[in-house]
């Protein structure tokens, strides 16, 4: 350790961190499933949600998996934290079925109009009372893709963070994580707990919920975060004005026909136009 650090009044522990019986919060988001056919709604500011199916944001699923692995190794508790409209309940139940111990739900119908600060402040306020050792979340969301909710939560809570984390090792003195850098480079970084880590997708295989897990999930606590515990809403500093289909950068020549007709056309192009065969 380089020395003492400023601890937040909200999230800090007064004692040195333990590496047994960890309390881990996992912040998860519910997003449209990856293969969804997307339609823009009449207002032009968001998508039609009626016909969509939703699932846990993929990097958040890996954050949850990492939390469950850490709990299996060190003991303790995994608490799922999720903000969203009522449909987010499904994602919370799935996380509980996979093995999270309980959940905190922030009812939130205005997710789209919030900026990162607005959302991160709510999540941080709900997390603060838990005094967790670690907060994990995915490195970015599959829908908005801003990749900063976790980092801003850490700032709001006054705790250190690391992004794009591939491995987590809990030490007596804190936590040591392997970060992914650009172009295939990596780096181990150590920091005291409490800390917030944003987890990269694919770092370990995801578990499935067992039948027993699904059954147990029904009896687990889902605490609704009362509005008075949340910070008063502030006007967003950044506003989404409109959404639209991207313009094609290139004119794509679509090769139509049966698979073998299309393949024959492509083989011709590879031979006579781009001349690689």
């Amino acid at each position: 350790m380089r020395g003492p650090h400023t601890r937040s009044n909200l999230c800090g522990r007064q004692q040195s961190p333990r590496h047994t019986d960890m309390k881990i919060i996992v912040a998860v988001k519910q997003v449209p499933v990856r293969d969804s056919v997307i339609r823009i709604d009449a207002g032009g500011k968001w998508i039609e949600e009626e016909d969509l199916s939703f699932e846990i944001n993929e990097p958040d699923a890996y954050a949850l998996e990492e939390a469950l692995l850490l709990k299996e190794k060190h003991g303790g508790e995994v608490v799922v934290l999720c903000a969203g409209p009522a449909r987010a309940g499904q994602t919370i139940r799935e996380a509980l079925a996979k093995g999270a111990d309980r959940a905190i739900y922030i009812p939130c119908d205005d997710l789209v109009s919030l900026d990162t600060l607005g959302l991160a402040r709510r999540l941080a306020a709900a997390a603060a009372t838990e005094r967790a050792d670690l907060i994990l979340t995915g490195l970015q969301s599959d829908d908005l893709g801003l990749g900063q909710t976790g980092v801003v939560m850490a700032e709001t809570l006054g705790i250190p963070h690391a992004t794009i984390v591939m491995k987590v090792e809990v030490l007596d003195a804190g936590v040591r994580v392997k970060r992914e850098l650009e172009d295939g480079w990596f780096q181990w970084v150590q920091m005291p707990m409490p800390a917030l880590l944003t987890v990269q997708s694919g770092i370990s295989p995801l578990r499935y919920a067992t039948l027993m897990g699904i059954k147990k999930a029904k009896t687990k606590e889902v605490r609704h975060c009362p509005p008075e515990q949340l910070p008063p809403p502030t006007p967003p500093t950044v506003t989404l004005q409109r959404i639209y289909l991207p313009q094609r950068k290139k004119e794509t020549q679509i090769l139509a026909g049966t698979p073998s007709e299309a393949a024959a056309k492509l083989a011709d192009i590879l031979k006579f136009e781009v001349r690689v065969i």
């Binding site: 829908d143 963070h161 794509t252 492509l266």
Partner: protein
């Protein structure tokens, strides 16, 4: 509050995305009649300062401190908070690098702002910047505006702005020494390292067949291997395929893997998430084979086949054999 400040990235050399951000900033600064400024932070900046001196900057800052020698979010946030407070810019732009993703959200939050991350274009509407971002892995674009009176923070996507648009000039480098205490730095970074020596040089490949999630199962990989072998192409993959261990990591193309620019890039079952596109959009010709006609990969494809890869790929292998034989 005035000026466009670009935070450049330097560590034993420039991150080339810095110049893309600076070129974009030069344009915005000119269009809004504001001074263009740039800053770089580190412990050893002598070479960086020399190279910065021929850029067309109204002000240029070398933010120097021993505690900035090795990057930490705490150190960089502390340093740039002080610089921004002093310079008081209206707009702060960053290249959207992994390092920026690590500290810029925190820096913006110190000023009560939300970073507008991973911007692909900046348009001016009535003199005010509109930031274009991609949503849902590139399926949609979105226009964002800054609606606060404080400084606006935005990071720019790799390859979205052309570095060669930047003009030459000259400037005086101002030294800026921030106050940072050792105790403020809570993270201890270790040495940077690579996992293993790269034995496959995809960057040198002329022809690449690349496979993505659409392949569904590891047992299906041989159908693309066969196509690659028939074409004499290198086999590559998007991240999830390598994460699953279906192909080695060194065959990964994208922001966390290799950057390639072959004569032909054949993307099989790859939807075209931005992290993948940045690694292959320099290809001379792109072929996309995908069942979803709305997949973002078609945005960058010259030729496309909309269909079931399990039918199209074997048919293509056969057609290539036939074309070879003819």
């Amino acid at each position: 509050m005035s000026g466009v400040l670009v935070i450049l990235e330097y560590r034993d050399g420039w991150n080339r995305m810095s110049w893309e951000a600076l070129a974009a900033a030069q344009q915005i600064a000119a269009q809004t009649s504001q001074p263009l400024m740039a800053a770089v932070a580190g412990g050893k900046l002598n070479d960086a300062a020399l190279e910065l001196a021929d850029k067309p900057l109204a002000r240029a800052f070398a933010v120097r401190h021993a505690l900035l020698d090795e990057y930490t979010a705490d150190g960089f946030v502390a340093a740039f908070v002080q610089l921004i407070a002093k310079v008081d810019p209206q707009l702060v732009l960053f290249p959207h690098t992994y390092q920026v993703r690590d500290f810029a959200p925190r820096l913006a939050a110190r000023f009560g702002q939300s970073l507008i991350a991973d911007v692909i274009a900046i348009n001016l509407e009535s003199g005010r910047p509109v930031f274009v971002r991609q949503l849902l892995q590139g399926k949609l674009n979105a226009d964002y505006i800054h609606t606060d009176t404080g400084p606006c923070f935005a990071s720019l996507q790799a390859g979205a702005f052309r570095a060669d648009a930047l003009t030459c000039g000259s400037c005086t480098i101002e030294e800026f020494v921030p106050h940072i205490e050792t105790s403020q730095i809570r993270t201890q970074p270790g040495e940077r390292f690579r996992e293993s020596a790269q034995t496959v040089d995809l960057a040198a490949a002329n022809l690449i067949v690349s496979v993505g999630r659409g392949i569904k199962e590891e047992t299906n990989i041989p159908i693309v291997e066969e196509l690659a072998a028939t074409l004499g192409a290198e086999l590559a993959a998007s991240r999830p395929i390598c994460d699953n261990g279906w192909l080695p990591m060194e065959r990964q193309v994208g922001s966390s893997g290799q950057t390639v620019s072959p004569k032909v890039y054949i993307a099989v079952g790859i939807s075209g998430a931005i992290q993948h596109l940045v690694g292959m959009k320099g290809s001379k010709a792109v072929v996309a084979i995908n069942k979803d006609e709305n997949a973002p990969i078609f945005e960058v494809a010259d030729y496309g086949i909309v269909g079931d890869l399990f039918e199209v790929v074997p048919a293509l292998t056969a057609a290539v054999r036939k074309a070879r034989g003819a």
